[in-house]
């Protein structure tokens, strides 16, 4: 499957009841590409991301991961999901488990790794996000930034081929945002395929290979950050960037 793109989206529509949130999205993400999705709230950018690992069921259209059509009911979505890491705005660490258990439980129960293997992987990943000393803590004892880094490590433990980030720094105090973005920057440098919904324009400008501007359920404008963020052609993009710059 090396020739199939990691993520291919064709004609994606999503309704919540009467409300059409995605109005036909087409997107192809290349291996190793970092895509930042920006846009006003309610533009459908989080829904788009959540359709990629089927946390939301698309109303119509196709989502093809590494050549597997996951919108086909015959596809084993659980198997495909292990290939897609997901990082949430609210971290969603498992509060009843220690950091180490957070990182090992899916390795053991989904991938069938034994305790030693799982712990070895988890230890390596904790080191990668700079939290080696926290493996016995419970999530509640960690700062928001540390929790989000643990959440990233938890996804990495499954050896995903791609990572999805749903506003990973939006719930963080300003002084904690940097440490999370640093980890994400490191992942991008290592060649991870990434799709990031974010309001961090600096990060998008610096790290993204391609920026998508979404509004009203469609991709209004896409291109390299220098173009979309620097010289936006679309009137809506310009207005959005101007509004963001004011804050």
């Amino acid at each position: 499957m090396s020739d199939a793109p990691p993520i291919l989206i064709e004609g994606l529509h999503k309704y919540f009841g009467e409300l059409e949130v995605l109005k036909g999205v087409d997107l192809s993400v290349a291996s190793g590409e970092v895509i930042c999705v920006i846009g006003p709230s309610g533009s459908g950018k989080s829904t788009l991301l959540r359709c990629v690992n089927l946390l939301e069921q698309p109303t119509s259209g196709k989502v093809i991961i590494e050549g597997f059509d996951i919108t086909d009911p015959e596809t084993d979505v659980d198997a495909v999901r292990t290939k897609i890491g997901m990082v949430f705005q609210q971290f969603n660490l498992f509060p009843h488990l220690t950091v180490m258990k957070n990182l090992t439980i899916a390795q053991r129960k989904v991938l069938g790794r034994n305790e030693d293997e799982a712990v070895a992987t988890a230890t390596a990943m904790l080191e990668r996000v700079g939290l080696s000393d926290k493996h016995d803590e419970h999530p509640i004892r960690l700062s928001g930034g540390q929790q989000q880094r643990v959440a990233i490590a938890r996804s990495l433990c499954m050896n995903p081929d791609m990572m999805l980030f749903d506003e990973p720094t939006s719930a963080l105090d300003p002084e904690l945002i940097g440490e999370v973005l640093d980890v994400m920057r490191g992942l991008a440098l290592d060649g991870m395929t990434m799709m990031v919904v974010t309001h961090e324009m600096g990060f998008a400008n610096q790290v993204a290979d391609r920026v998508l501007f979404m509004d009203e359920g469609i991709i209004m404008e896409e291109g390299p950050p220098s173009q979309v963020l620097g010289e936006p052609r679309n009137e809506r993009t310009r207005r959005f960037l101007a509004a963001v710059a004011q804050t």
Binding site: I84, H96, I105, A151
Partner: protein, 267 residues
């Protein structure tokens, strides 16, 4: 003006409280002088009868009460877990069954359910529940307890944030694995206090099992005490049974308070 009004309200409340204290003291004094303490002791605290009840009130009565409670609770809890999951199922007939079951057994008096299991099943369907009092009691009380606990468990599952299921599924867990390893452990932590309350209610409901009919060795506390009352024509056995119930239930209610405090602190 405002200050004056406030202080006069405080004074009124103080006076009211003193009046209540005074009335209470007067009532207690009247009671103390009018009650025939000797008769009272004769009826409720006869040492001979207490001695005669020991040790069987513990080795038979309390033991059976605890056994019936434990079995019914264990059976009820497992059944409740299935009902709670069925009630949240995407498959409609499962939901209908669970709703029907819960409404039925919460709506019926526990006594009727027990009679149905013990006598209704053999008559109507020719089914004899094995295991004597224990078997019939476990089934009857377990059905009732399950109906109540199913709603408790469902509430606990729904109290776990949606993001927990999403995170688990994103890691490739099936619905079942996510439930088992992520959602239910958190849900049970939340519902330990209400479940312990169910346990206390269940302890007291075992007193209904007398309708099944008991052998000398399968009597629980209440039946044991009532038989002793008939024999002795005295109320002392009731006092002993009451004390035994309190010895079992008070530590549990104390535990619930402790757990509730801990849960509240954790939030």
């Amino acid at each position: 003006m405002v200050v004056v009004a406030k202080s006069s309200r405080v004074r009124k409340a103080k006076i009211r409280r003193w009046i209540i204290y005074a009335i209470t003291v007067v009532v207690l004094v009247i009671l103390a002088f009018t009650i025939d303490w000797a008769t009272l002791q004769q009826a409720f605290f006869q040492p001979d009868i207490i001695r005669a009840m020991l040790p069987e009130v513990i080795t038979i009565g309390a033991k059976n009460t605890i056994i019936y409670t434990t079995m019914a609770f264990a059976f009820g809890l497992i059944l409740a877990l299935f009902l709670a999951l069925m009630k949240r199922s995407t498959i409609a007939p499962y939901r209908w069954f669970a709703t029907g079951f819960i409404e039925l057994f919460r709506g019926l008096p526990a006594l009727i359910t027990i009679i149905l299991v013990a006598f209704g099943l053999p008559i109507a369907l020719g089914i004899r529940v094995p295991g004597g009092t224990l078997g019939k009691g476990t089934l009857g009380l377990g059905l009732v307890a399950a109906a109540y606990m199913a709603e408790t468990i469902r509430a606990g599952v729904e109290a776990v944030p949606r993001g927990q299921m999403e995170a688990a599924r994103s890691l490739g867990m099936t619905r079942g694995k996510a439930m088992t390893y992520i959602i239910l452990p958190q849900a049970f932590r939340i519902i330990i206090p209400p479940l312990t309350n169910e346990l206390v209610l269940l302890i007291k409901d075992t007193s209904l099992l007398f309708v099944i009919g008991t052998t000398p060795l399968s009597k629980e506390l209440t039946k044991f005490a009532r038989d002793f009352m008939t024999e002795t024509q005295n109320a002392t056995p009731l006092t002993v049974a009451a004390i035994m119930y309190l010895i079992i239930t008070l530590p549990l209610t104390y535990l619930v308070r402790r757990l509730e405090k801990r849960t509240n602190k954790g939030r």
